[in-house]
């Protein structure tokens, strides 16, 4: 399906990325980190710091886990990255945009580089699967034929091509999350931000979803994956950052069982 074409639609028309990013600023060198944050502070009230001096760099094509207990500030950190909220102090640059200087009227230019996946899916229940998936492409004002081809490809990729005409409310939890992922990747974003995407799913579905993210990452999409599920993190070797009481740092990975036995024996 990925290589399929529809009559009258050229390959350039199907992926007119320069047009996709119309209005977005140049990102400069490909070697620059896609996310660069330093000394970030975020307060919810004068005595409630959620993030304290958080610093983070995410290289292009990297897969980074952000973990921490509920309420640690994972969602807030991701929200700062897509400019759902603004930091109270610190420097933050995402996809070449300096978010401390970015005016509200230009937030759209940043978000066209991003794909967002949430724990609660954030689908429009009364829209069809295809309509939900097509939203980012409609925002990019692509033609109907291009949208149909791209949506068809993406739904097939996440295993939802058979239910394209069904309404989103008729899907199961796992299918809804697949649809949310399809919507997040349909416009081929540079950075995929996933906020507890497996939070509502059973362990097997969570692994499936994680596999999907890893596949996207192998194809060149940078992924920032926030989760509190250490079992899920333990299944991969990706860099993991932990948030604890607003402080962001590398996670000390638990030793495997065999290593623990060796230490105990010695």
């Amino acid at each position: 399906m990925l290589g399929s074409t529809e009559s009258g639609v050229t390959a350039k028309q199907r992926r007119p990325f320069s047009f996709f990013r119309k209005g977005a600023r140049s990102e400069g060198s490909g070697e620059r980190p896609i996310v660069r944050a330093s000394g970030i502070y975020k307060f919810f009230g004068p005595s409630r710091p959620v993030l304290r001096d958080a610093s983070l760099e995410v290289a292009r094509n990297e897969f980074v886990f952000i973990t921490g207990p509920s309420g640690a500030g994972k969602s807030t950190l991701l929200s700062l990255l897509y400019r759902g909220q603004q930091s109270d102090a610190g420097a933050l640059e995402v996809c070449g945009h300096d978010l401390t200087q970015l005016p509200d009227s230009r937030v759209w230019a940043l978000r066209r580089h991003l794909g967002l996946v949430f724990q609660d899916f954030r689908l429009v229940d009364h829209w069809s699967v295809a309509e939900n998936c097509a939203l980012p492409l409609e925002i990019l004002r692509l033609s109907g034929s291009v949208i149909r081809v791209r949506v068809g490809e993406t739904l097939e990729r996440v295993g939802l091509s058979g239910v394209a005409a069904a309404t989103a409310r008729s899907l199961s939890g796992g299918e809804k999350q697949r649809l949310a992922i399809a919507r997040a990747i349909v416009h081929e974003p540079k950075l995929l931000l996933a906020d507890e995407p497996t939070g509502n799913l059973d362990p097997q579905l969570s692994i499936d979803i994680l596999s999907l993210f890893e596949e996207l990452n192998r194809e060149g999409t940078t992924v920032v994956f926030a989760t509190h599920d250490h079992a899920l993190i333990g299944k991969t070797n990706h860099r993991t950052l932990a948030l604890d009481e607003g402080v962001l740092g590398p996670l000390a990975r638990p030793r495997s069982a065999s290593v623990t036995r060796l230490v105990a024996a010695s």
């Binding site: 066209r112 609660d120 429009v124 829209w127 980012p136 109907g144």
Partner: protein, 303 residues
Amino acid sequence: MRMAYLFRRLQRTLRAGRVSALASIVSLSAVMLALVVAVLALGNARLLPVTDVPERLVSLLLDPATTESELASIELFLEGSAAVSRFDVLEPERVAERIGTAGGLSVDARQRVAQLELPAVVEVSLRSGAETGPALTTLLKQVGRFPVVLDTVLAEPIQPDTGSRGVLLWIAGIFCLLLLGALVVTLGYSTQLAYARQTQEIALARLFGASERFVRLPFVVDAVVRAVLAAVFALALSYGLWSVSLGPGSARFMGERGWSFLSIEAVLGFIVMASVLGWIGAVVPLLFSRWALGGPRREGSAW
């Protein structure tokens, strides 16, 4: 913006609130119908009977080469006209006599006589009363067909707005303004309703990079389309109303002549006005809705 996309968004807006869209078009049509009737009243008030015009109204300035037989045919016409109470043909000597006398030719007519060196002037007195205004119009048209009549000069200008008619004009004007305000409020309310119904979709669109223009444009187009549709319905209804009760067919109720309907320019102007009102009615509430219902920083509030 691509029309296909706009059409899809409009379809979704309509699908989200079919009943309220219909209701808003009906209510807008009703308000616009009232507006059309008020405009008709305003326009036709100018033609309302003029009761207080002076009896001597007009002087016909004749060509110096007018022959006796031509003058006779004019006299014959004036005698046959129901609107004319009496007329008087002034020979050149009498014109000269009456210049400068009180109650004679008006200053304007005297100046015209002096300039043209006319041999004769016909002073025409119209019947005073309810039909004097329209009768004068008809008379001037008819007299204009005589090749020997060079000009007609009113002895006294007709006062366009006098007494109760002026009050009627004011009332109709204020009513029109109130109806315009009601239209904007109705359009604004229906736009805000449509916006509130799609809060989630809008917040989602913002999350995926929709600009403010992307968010607002379908609502503006929707409001303009509603307003124009309502204007067309209102014009069609008012034309029907006019045909049945106010137009020429209603002679037995309204005398010789009923109200005239709006000109084609006025109809087109009305439709343009409706589209402008639709634009205002959509843009104003959307400006206020942006932060009330989820701006760039508050998209999460929709969930």
